[in-house]
Amino acid sequence: MAAIIEKESLIGKAIPKMDAPGKVSGHTRYIHDLNLPGQLIGRILRTDRVHARIISIDTKEAEALPGVHAVITAKDVPNKPLGVTKDNPPLKGDKVRCERDEIAAVAAETEALAEQALSLIKVEYEELPALFDPRQALLENAPVIQESKPDNISMEFDYSHGDVEQGEAESDVVIEDLFKLHYVTHCCMGASGVIADFDSTSGNLTLYSNTQVPFLHKREFASVLNMDPNRIRIIQPPIGGGFGSKLDIYPFEPIAVFLAQKARRPVKLTFSREEEFLASPTRQPAYLRLRSGVTKEGVLTFRTLDSLLDNGAYTSWGATIPFVMMQTFSSLYRVPHCLYHTTTVYTNNPYAGSFRGYGNLQATFCVEAHMDKLAEAVGIDPLRFRLKNAQQAGETSGQGMHFKSCGFKECLTTAAARSDYAIKREQNLKAQGDDNAVKKGIGMASMLHVGGGAKIYPSDGCGTILKMDDFGHVTLMTGASEIGQGSETVLSQLVCEELGLPLSAVTVVNNDTDITPWDVGVHASRTTFIAGNSAIGAARLAREKILNAAAGTTAMPADQLSLRGGCIVIDESGEAVITLDKLLRSLHFQERAELVTTSFYYEPPSVHQDKAFKGDVSASYAWATQVVEIEVDTLTGVVTLNRCTAAHDVGRVLNKLGIEGQVEGGIVMGQGYALTEDLLIDEGHCQNPNFRDYKLITAPEIPEIDLSFIETMDGEGPQGAKGIGEAPAICMAAAIANALYNATGVRIYEAPFSPEKVYRALKGCSQPLEW
């Protein structure tokens, strides 16, 4: 009798990430470990001014240095501007506008020679009046940063639904507050880097790049370099973290290409840690003025948000965070009337890029502060107030977001119950007046974020090619990049689920634009959802082919067969009919040979926002509530985070280990944003470009973390899953601010909550926020 094979599933299991052994054992070869034959080292000369006219650049001595093969300045290269509004030339020829500005670059035999060559370049400047405070950017006499934008406005966003005047008239309580958010930066373990290599015969360009968006990158490079995109190939070595920082093209990348072009040798350009701090993007700093209303029954009536974003000298993705911010203001809770305005202004400060959460940390900080304040004003406890106004499944928000599945209320009640929120909150309030110098606080915050892709570009899709060889091994070629988030493992699991294979039967190829099908890139928490659905699509096509072929050889109808344990089995009994590898070989080695390959392209059922920013931009939405418990030392202002209880609507858990790691990492990133990380910019200059003074959270500071996953089994998600990559970082600053208030009765409107800032607030000596 044939063997009986039980149905097994990898979904929801705790599976170590496929890339983990190499990374933890130090064997993974990152871009820093790659060296091409004949390669030169590229280095960039950056300005030490923040706003100045360049009078002259003298590169003669650098060029004459033996071992230097190329020296370039703006006049040597096409220099088409980069960035979201194309205002950032790779090399600056006329003016420098911020500390990081690239003036010249060299390619030399060694790093030391390249450094020496930089030191020989002489630049003459004429200082220009500088603009550091975004609040002064719109003044009549403000210095102009970009000549093409004499009003200093980079971008403006306006959104509304309903009628806020009516909403205000219906309100019993109206509050208004000003909030300020600071600069932080990604601190990827792998600093930025690129290797540019021209094929000497064809002239084709291969770029070894850490980009998160290889296909968009290829297109942009073609434009910047005036090259046919077909002649550009992007290979991504394993990427040491992205978090959004590698979503845009930055000057160092075309600079490396220009150097390679000029030197006719491969050029490798990687950042030192200090350069990574000085010259990679930041999270978008912001001033936000929020006005909110509520009825005495505790129903939200309206929200008005006015915000000012410091664009810095050039426009990267940071300036576009209103796309996401407005969703939180309009749609996290039911708000019948909403008015939103953002102005993004040029200054001589660093510029911000995309960063995990994409404006949602900033928006949630304000919204969740107001949820606590409004609840207090109408005498309802904060949990009940949130539950009363929370969105639920089936609703469409004022902004047009349709919540087909929604575990928001379960997130709220689960996190509150598991943390004893109500009891502890009351106890802490009572203890505020006692003479204990250390106060305890508990605070909650919730969030909404896209969980099914985000239709920003013409397509939000991803392609998959699946190949099965004659040994029953699957090669999954996906457009989706692995940047440490665990996509290789999850995609493999999804394929295994369809094809009844163990994880070891799958190899993932995801890093070469000459091989992999198109994908829009790793952003917007989209990879599991979009690339997952795409991988499932390709696997189902393969499954159909295999079962049809098996039907032919076994005389069983295909719909009664199934794939399990590397075999074709009778679905009902589990009885093995033939092993998969044998079947595949029988297809292959015959007169009309067939190789099982399939391709599938997944485009999510979402729509672009219209001109008024309305539309159901994601196929699914993720929800979460996080409750934090802190201690505040009132003698020093030190806030200690003891515990975080997080409940996330994740659709469904695919890889338990992966999702736990993703959420824990996000919580710690959010903790750093709230408490310790602060990129200090003084008159345009970064004061702490190092890990001594830029304080990432260290191991002993990581709180006890309690995770709950709410499985809403999203109808559109791969096996019911939603994307949650960004979600866990979003609530922390908001929740900790609420906990601070619970502990001390003092509310802080400006992050991070550094000991000195907290101490000043406790003493009533805070600098008042103004805008």
Partner: protein, 288 residues
């Protein structure tokens, strides 16, 4: 990386002081401060880099009749883990425990921490509190001569000490404390590890009958050098300590320090911290 002109690793103190006598020498011990300076380009590459780690006589901890002598090359980890030291001078072990990170403690030396003369040097406040002195060796008539300088007089300014360019700090001597002496050290940074102190405070003395006799108070990171707070000490000595008096003393301490604004804190906040933490530490010391 800087191209060093020359590098030496003498095996004896004789050779080391001989080399120092020839001038233009930078001494390398653990390297945890020096290599950062080199990396930042704040190092004169024409100097000879002299690695003293091979001089074994600079390494041991010895207990004499009246004092303990700690060799300059003793690492912070060795101080932290020495069983006899932890009984006789628990304050040193406590301070070592809060010193930077395990990796830095494993290479960083006591002599290096002293010679680096950072206003925020982690071991300096407890050493001041314990009335430590340093031995400085130099070449003399073909042999080695040495002089002893009290630590309280050793620091001249940020990164500057009494140690002359021809001298090598060979050991730290700490007298055994008198019967009944108790001391507390508090390093305040914004996180539990890997931090430069924002302020550090050490207070000690013999608490008797409401008085803290022979009081010692030292502060770090609140002036150009770590220093003994003489006015505060005098105030402590004058009258018995109750909670009201401790508050008054905290105000005197606050007014005695001369902090600056830097990326870690403002001067205002440092004064507040010194005030609040003086109350805390002094209360600890006097709390029977």
């Amino acid at each position: 990386m800087t191209n060093f002109k020359s590098y030496l690793a003498p095996a004896t103190l004789d050779e080391a002081v001989d080399q120092l006598n020839q001038g233009n020498v930078t001494v390398l011990a653990g390297g945890s401060d020096l290599m950062l300076r080199v990396g930042a380009g704040n190092y004169d590459p024409s100097h000879t880099l002299m690695n003293i780690l091979k001089i074994n006589e600079l390494r041991n901890i010895s207990f004499e009749d009246n004092e303990v002598q700690i060799g300059t090359l003793t690492t912070i980890t060795e101080i932290r883990e020495d069983p006899e030291l932890s009984i006789k001078m628990p304050l040193l072990g406590q301070a070592a425990d809060q010193f930077a990170s395990m990796q830095i403690r494993n290479v960083g030396t006591i002599g290096g921490n002293i010679c680096n003369a950072s206003p925020a040097g982690d071991m300096l406040v407890p050493l001041l509190l314990l009335d430590a002195a340093v031995e400085l060796a130099r070449q003399s008539d073909g042999g080695v001569a040495s002089r002893r300088v009290a630590l309280k007089d050793f620091f001249v300014g940020p990164g500057k000490t009494q140690c002359q360019s021809n001298e090598l700090l060979t050991r730290v001597s700490i007298p055994f404390s008198k019967q009944g002496f108790r001391a507390r050290f508090y390093k305040f940074g914004t996180r539990p590890a890997l931090d430069i102190s924002t302020v550090s405070i050490g207070i000690g003395g013999i608490f008797n009958n409401g008085y803290l006799q022979a009081p010692r108070v030292a502060f770090g990171a609140v002036a150009p050098v770590p220093f003994m707070a003489l006015k505060t000490m005098k105030a402590i000595e004058q009258s018995p300590l109750d909670s009201e008096r401790i508050k008054e003393i905290a105000e005197i301490a606050r007014d005695e320090i001369k902090p600056i604004d830097d990326v870690r804190a403002t001067a205002w906040y440092r004064k507040q911290l010194v005030h609040n933490l003086t109350i805390k530490v002094l209360s600890d010391v006097t709390d029977a």
